[in-house]
């Protein structure tokens, strides 16, 4: 590789047209790049690039294209087709582009600032640098409101993405491949007088997978931006930074520490500052750990690898392994490690505690296991008030490991439900633990979603009832994402108390399901600024016609609540409106029932009156029917009728007489008629002697 090849890009700044042929990528393409470029590149270029070309005149920016937020400077637009945006940060936009001439893909990084000091001497050195180890900085330039870099594009993504696709510990052979790519790259960069200061899997790009070809990214202009060096939680930069970084000191051995962390991460499958469940420690935790402890290498089983990691993770920058020692190590020699690896003091004699069939000797790992296997933890803590052996073993382990905070939490609440104690113990074991309760995250965002969900769906209410009863939120206070939980819990409990008081005053019987719903509703309103959430619903409930017929409900709805108990007032109205309405409808039904009963009584009374006078009438009619034959057809049946009615009274004899005389009267009448008809033609005198004397 000659210098001429790399001189070309610099001229591009002044005359973009000449730069095209220079395309320093060609030198690179000769060796490893071709295989990659040809395969995925063509398929990608085929479709989107051509459509783009068809619609937009060449050589012009397309400011109205909806998906491209970024205008690229005309000098670049002449030479490149924009494929898509790769991302944008606070300071820069990153675009994937295709070179119109060479059809090769490039990355353009546009900085929206003009005031970056362009250390051209350094950048030129970078442009000339050997592309074997560093992501090629092809050109850089300035103008039209932007500073830009043109970089090579690594289609296989970053090491971070690869580790996500292949999680867990990598085999020593695989890690050795990574080491063989990274160590010479760092050594080379250092030989150019450059320190990367942000080596992490996200900044290690993969040029090809077979064979593995890794390059360091972000060596260019980003180095001059304070913002990108900032230790942010999302950038994960601090997890790879050496202890001396805390003081802002830029040591030459910075990158070697980062390499050590990357090695540990690959060998164990977990960053030293990552918890077993994949969550990360906060920057504050990382910093305090860095200043006080060595990196824990217990997870690195192999002695040679452990040696390498100890060398790279030497806390004193001047004694840390660098290019020389790593090369010796690679050759199989054993360079000296300055600080002997000291086992952590807190581990001495701590022993192993078996939880859920797995051994733990480390509080943070155990806390993560307790969070993950909540039910087993609950059973463990349930052993507290019967002093069950697993519980005692757990407590012993805590004592041996000097987890005084956790032991205090255990001893504090023997009679409590196990969940509360479990929550406290997890927090004591890992003060930085995320707030997980019964498998549910309880940070403000999740808790809010949880309560909203429980408003709709009764299934989640039991959990929140437990959270309420056990005061779990006060324990969460101060955990990540749980700011102000003590106050939140206080507001929640106060408003529930206020609501219960109102129910008590009116002696209302509220069903457990209603109480549960109220609890959830009052949690929603306990959040800052949410106390009026149900004002409208409460107003609607208070206007219920049926409910308003109850005096107590009208009083309740008319009561003015103080701001602190406003939400409780709403909840009480919402819950008691159906109760009042039910009372009203009960009262209406009761009134109806009484009216019907009254009518029935009247009817019964009149019948009873007739029954009372029927015995004499029955007897009288009976006598008449027997004595006066021609009234018998009327008096006889009347006597029987009244006789039957008289049976309902106590005058049974009169009834019998009435029925009997009535019957006889009718029979006599019938006999008379039959006899009269038979004797009719012969002579009437025979038949009616009594009536015609």
């Amino acid at each position: 590789m000659t210098d001429e090849g790399y001189d070309a890009p610099r001229t591009v700044l002044d005359a973009p047209s000449t730069g095209r042929h220079a395309a320093p990528g060609t030198t690179r393409d000769g060796a490893p790049g071709t295989t990659r470029d040809r395969a995925p590149g063509t398929t990608r270029d085929g479709a989107p690039a051509t459509t783009y070309d068809a619609r937009v005149p060449r050589g012009r920016v397309a400011p109205d294209r909806p998906y491209l937020r970024v205008n690229i400077p005309p000098a670049l637009a002449e030479r490149f087709d924009v494929d898509r945006e790769l991302g944008s940060g606070g300071e820069a936009d990153v675009l994937l582009v295709t070179d119109r001439l060479s059809r090769e893909q490039r990355v353009v990084r546009l900085y929206r600032r003009q005031d970056i000091p362009l250390e051209t001497e350094k950048l030129d050195r970078l442009c000339r640098a050997d592309r074997k180890h560093l992501v090629g900085l092809l050109e850089y330039g300035k103008g039209e409101g932007y500073i830009w870099e043109i970089l090579e594009y690594a289609a296989e993504g970053s090491l971070e993405e690869l580790t996500k696709r292949r999680p867990g510990a990598w085999s020593p052979d695989q890690v050795l491949q990574v080491f063989d790519q990274l160590a010479p790259a760092i050594a080379y960069a250092n030989s150019l007088g450059m320190v990367h200061r942000d080596i992490k899997p996200g900044n290690i790009l993969i040029r090809s997978l077979q064979p593995l070809d890794l390059v360091l990214a972000d060596f260019g202009l980003t180095k001059f931006l304070a913002a990108t060096r900032h230790m942010g939680t999302t950038s994960r930069t601090s997890a790879y930074a050496p202890p001396e970084a805390i003081s802002g000191q830029a040591s030459r051995s910075w990158d070697w520490w980062s390499l050590g962390i990357v090695m540990v991460e690959m060998l164990t499958g977990l960053n030293p500052f990552q918890r077993p469940d994949g969550t990360w420690q906060t920057d504050a935790m990382i910093l305090s750990e860095l200043t006080t402890h060595d990196i824990d290498l217990a997870g690195v089983a192999d002695a040679r690898w452990q040696l390498l990691c100890r060398g790279l993770l030497t806390r004193a920058p001047e004694q840390r392994w660098g290019a020389e020692q790593t090369e010796m190590w690679r050759r199989g020699e054993t360079p000296e490690v300055a600080e002997p690896a000291r086992p952590k003091a807190r581990k001495a004699g701590g022993g192993t505690y078996v939880f859920g069939g797995t051994g733990y000797d480390e509080p943070i790992a155990l806390a993560a296991a307790l969070r993950a296997n909540w039910d087993e933890g609950r059973r463990l803590m349930a052993g507290r008030n019967v002093s069950a052996p697993p519980y005692l073993a757990f407590r012993d382990w805590l004592v041996r490991n000097e987890q005084t905070e956790a032991v205090r939490a255990l001893d504090g609440g023997v009679s409590e439900r196990p969940e509360r104690g479990l929550m406290q113990v997890i927090l004591a074991l890992d003060p930085d633990s995320p707030p997980v309760f019964a498998g549910q995250r309880l940070d403000a965002e999740h808790l809010h979603a949880l309560s909203r969900e429980a408003m709709m769906n009764p299934q989640g209410r039991g959990l929140l009832e437990l959270v309420f009863a056990e005061g779990i939120l006060t324990i969460c206070d101060g955990m990540p994402g749980c700011d102000g939980y003590a106050l939140l819990d206080d507001r929640w409990h106060r408003s529930v108390e206020a609501a219960r008081l109102r129910f008590g005053q009116r002696r209302l019987q509220v069903s457990p399901a209603d109480l549960q719903a109220m609890l959830v509703q009052l949690l929603v309103t306990a959040f800052e600024g949410q106390q009026g959430t149900f004002a409208e619903a409460a107003y609607k409930a208070s206007q219920d016609e049926m409910a308003r017929r109850q005096q107590w409900f009208r009083d309740l709805a008319g009561e003015r609540a103080e701001p602190a108990t406003e939400a409780a007032q709403h909840a009480v109205i919402i819950i008691s409106a159906p109760i009042a309405a039910r009372q009203t409808s009960d009262q209406i039904a009761e009134a109806d029932r009484q009216r019907i009963a009254h009518e029935q009584r009247l009817r019964f009374e009149s019948r009873a009156r007739i029954d009372r006078i029927s015995p004499p009438i029955a007897v009288l009619c009976g006598v008449l029917a027997v004595c006066i034959w021609y009234v018998a057809p009327v008096a006889g049946p009347a006597a029987v009728y009244f006789g039957v009615r008289a049976r309902r009274t106590s005058h049974r004899a009169a009834s019998t007489w009435g029925i009997a005389l009535g019957g006889i009267g009718v029979i006599l009448f019938a006999v008379m008629v039959v006899a009269g008809l038979a004797a009719g033609p012969a002579g009437t005198g025979v038949v009616t002697p009594t009536t015609t004397p």
Binding site: V354, G359, Y360, D361, R379, G383, P389, P390, P418
Partner: protein, 256 residues
Amino acid sequence: MNRVDIVAVTHRGRERERNEDTVAVAGFQSGALEGQPVGFSVAAVRPVTLLVADGLGGHPEGGRASRLAAAVVADAAASLHTPDAVVSTVAAANDAIYREMAHVPGWSRMGATIVVLVLTQGRAICVNVGDSRCFLLRGTDLVQLTRDDSPAPPAGATAVATVVTQTLGGRPARTAVEPHVYRTAVEPGDRFLLCSDGLTDELDPGRIEKELVETADQRAAVEGLLRAVLDAGARDNISIVVADIPRSTAQEGTQQ
């Protein structure tokens, strides 16, 4: 506590030819090949002794060892008022197994694990050797009352379920045992579970807890557990003993 209700079952499982487990409830002993759940109601005037003994697989005559151990403990049941008495009886069972194996050379190294629960005078005494377990279900939480004689796995590793560090018998020469003792006061409504590892290796504690909490009827609970183990493959012999302390209204009446 003036009565204890018990349902017990033992079963060879799906893969073993023989049943080397033995259960004993108040003197009734069974090592039935494929037993059915049997219910007992025992007056607690004398110590109520329940036990599960699990003959060691891979050693000769596991069934003989477990039956012998069960018989020794069951015979001493009337005197088991104190933890010390239970411990010395379990030690006597250990001696008996070593004496027995001396008779026939082929019986060398026969052995068993055992868990004994004695309910007496409002207390529960629980003694175990090996990995047969006793649990207490109080309310909705299932708590293990025994300490397994299993080697603790190193940090990060998972315990191997099949290894036990202490058994009755099981070695060529007589070896003393140190049984684990646990005692607690009994409350009305308590439910105890004794089982061999045939249950706990197939079902996780959460599943067992669910069955015992949700099924109030003892026999149905035992049947449910047995069914679940058989469905899960039942690679080992299974023994299940569930003992309930009734919430007797009569007892509350006398206390008032």
